[in-house]
Point group: C2
Chain length 345, copies 2
DNA sequence: CTGAAAGCGCTAACAT
DNA sequence: ATGTTAGCGCTTTCAG
């Protein structure tokens, strides 16, 4: 370690070329004679040299970093998406800088700040503030300010913002799920979990009602159950309350996500009902939870790998000055397992 | 955007001071007269200026980034640990650069390379190669090479390496769990899941046997069940095989982790046995899975937030030239839920 | 306490 | 095809 750190200067001197030439072979940005190129490559090999990303970024004014701000990767939905974004970014020569906002404004701001300091080339935002039904004005203003210098791609919605949006087609997802349940003879269908001020939840409820209308099934307000959280516990408590109330039990329950479904399943089992014999349960997201649950959950899934691709591709297209679509939808897919039954037979 | 980007020069000029002075107020690295400091701070506020981390890093030769290489954050164990490391790093002014190796050597190398290019100040490695019982010689050599210039902290083991280690005390964890089961009357205890060439698994098996010996319980080799993976499916298959074989069913099963436990629970239920009435199940890691399972799983947990602190603190101490402990252990804690019963009554 | 100036390691014109 | 020369935006001696 007493040695001079190796830089392109060191390589250049030893190879008898200029630093610029070393840079050229490093970036393939221009032709270099075979002779010199090979010489330089040998030295690079010899010293196991790799260029300093900070210097490169400073000089090129491109960090080759994409920032990804998620609410909490302990939620498998975000973990899966994050992993796919990382893959997509790597495939395109970018690094993913992942942070968790923990659903906390201060944290969110802190990480946004740090990402800005790193001069990330683009920003991907998911969940949290960008998923609220009524967009926070100040927040929108701040995002627009960022979007002014850095492309911002969001999963969710942010009214009046300059951001690119790549969203799950929640509407279609709910339509498909409702059709599946109704065609299996269900009429008393409950949608359980979530807050109406969360956009994705709002959209699902809207489509739930329009599906009912389409099939001529009367809407029962008590079958739309709001919960504060999107957790296992939320589902458990909501379902317990339904048992405690005198509400007629639905034949099928749509959980707002896999976590909530898990809680609902627990409650149902604790009350000695069987799934799907007595009650059918379906959910959204199709994380590994759906597959790990007993019985395995029928769930609306998304092609996460395409989702990651779309997010990252949009970000990169935007930062390269191309104009990607402002709004894209990821098609949902119904994954049928053992938690729903046909009640007509 | 036609405007000159704001840098410390812009601030300096407008404040009538030198760039060095702006830098000083930014870093609090030296005293600046109140008058000038306030003037500068006002301008910083006005332009919403934040320093370019690449320039700062290049100049100071400190990136203030800690790299964290995990196998796969879709596994809640790693997700939890990653979140805690991120928190710990943030609290100390560092950024966490998280990547997933996906249990793939090429990916691991790729991300290690990228982290090196970013000149991360320290590296935290978990799972994968650093958890193999027989350490890969070439890998050790490479890690030592990295450790030569960058502190490396690992969770796991790497024989003959210069790395710092922060490990779960697997031995104590197994001892506690065995004592709990045995004191609840269990004699036929099975340990299911994992590969013996994974260090953490190896240690658990060793202590399993020594616990048996301590309590004078005969060792039955058929009660040590190896699986290739650490997944739900691994557990399901292993338990199914046990049912298919003519082996006497154990009264308690220790799963190598929560995932495997989940699979085991599924298999047991499919075979119409009850938990814990017929068979007790316990596991390691105490992720949210243990709490979400039905019945809720008794599991050996760790204080993840202390774990994250230890990892990050060790990394930072090392990079600051202090000499943290080379080897530290995180104490385990038994979380008792409803999946094990006392069979003596 | 403050400013001038020299880098940090690379890329990107601009020459040649 | 290759070398020279400026920077990129900050920190850090070194003077004063």
């Amino acid at each position: 370690m007493g040695k001079e750190r190796v830089s392109i200067y060191r390589i250049a001197k030893e190879a008898g070329v200029s630093p610029a030439t070393v840079s050229r072979v490093l970036t393939h940005s221009a032709n270099v004679s075979d002779e010199k190129r090979i010489k330089v490559e040998e030295l690079i090999q010899k010293y196991d040299f790799s260029p300093n990303a900070m210097a490169r970024g400073l000089s090129s004014t491109q960090s080759k970093i994409i920032g990804l701000l998620a609410p909490d990767i302990r939620n498998p939905f975000y973990a899966t998406l994050a992993v796919e974004c990382e893959r997509a970014a790597s495939e395109r020569g970018y690094i993913l800088l992942l942070s968790n906002s923990m659903n906390n404004m201060d944290m969110e701001e802190y990480h946004l700040q740090k990402m800005f300091e790193q001069r990330v080339d683009a920003l991907i935002l998911m969940g949290g503030k960008v998923d609220e039904f009524v967009s926070d004005e100040e927040y929108v203003e701040k995002m627009n300010q960022i979007a002014d210098s850095t492309p911002v791609v969001i999963t969710g919605k942010l009214d009046g913002s300059d951001c690119y949006q790549v969203n799950i087609d929640e509407a279609q997802a709910m339509d498909i799920l409702m059709e599946y349940l109704i065609s299996n003879g269900h009429q008393n269908i409950c949608i359980m979990g979530g807050r109406k001020n969360v956009n994705s939840t709002y959209v699902k409820r809207i489509r739930y009602r329009s599906s009912l209308r389409k099939y001529g099934i009367p809407f029962r307000p008590e079958y739309v159950v709001e919960t504060q959280g999107y957790s296992v516990e939320s589902g458990l408590e909501a379902m317990n309350e339904m048992f405690d109330s005198k509400i007629e039990l639905p034949s099928a329950i749509i959980a707002i996500n896999d976590f909530t479904a898990l809680g609902i399943v627990q409650s149902i089992r604790q009350h000695s009902y069987r799934i799907p014999e007595d009650i059918s349960v379906a959910s959204f997201d199709n994380t590994f939870i759906a597959d790990a649950c007993t019985p395995r959950l029928t769930s609306m899934g998304y092609n996460y790998d395409k989702f990651g691709d779309a997010l990252v591709e949009t970000a990169i297209a935007a930062l390269e000055g191309k104009s990607p679509l402002k709004l894209q939808f990821i098609p949902p897919e119904l994954v049928i397992r053992e938690s729903c039954r046909n009640i007509e037979q």
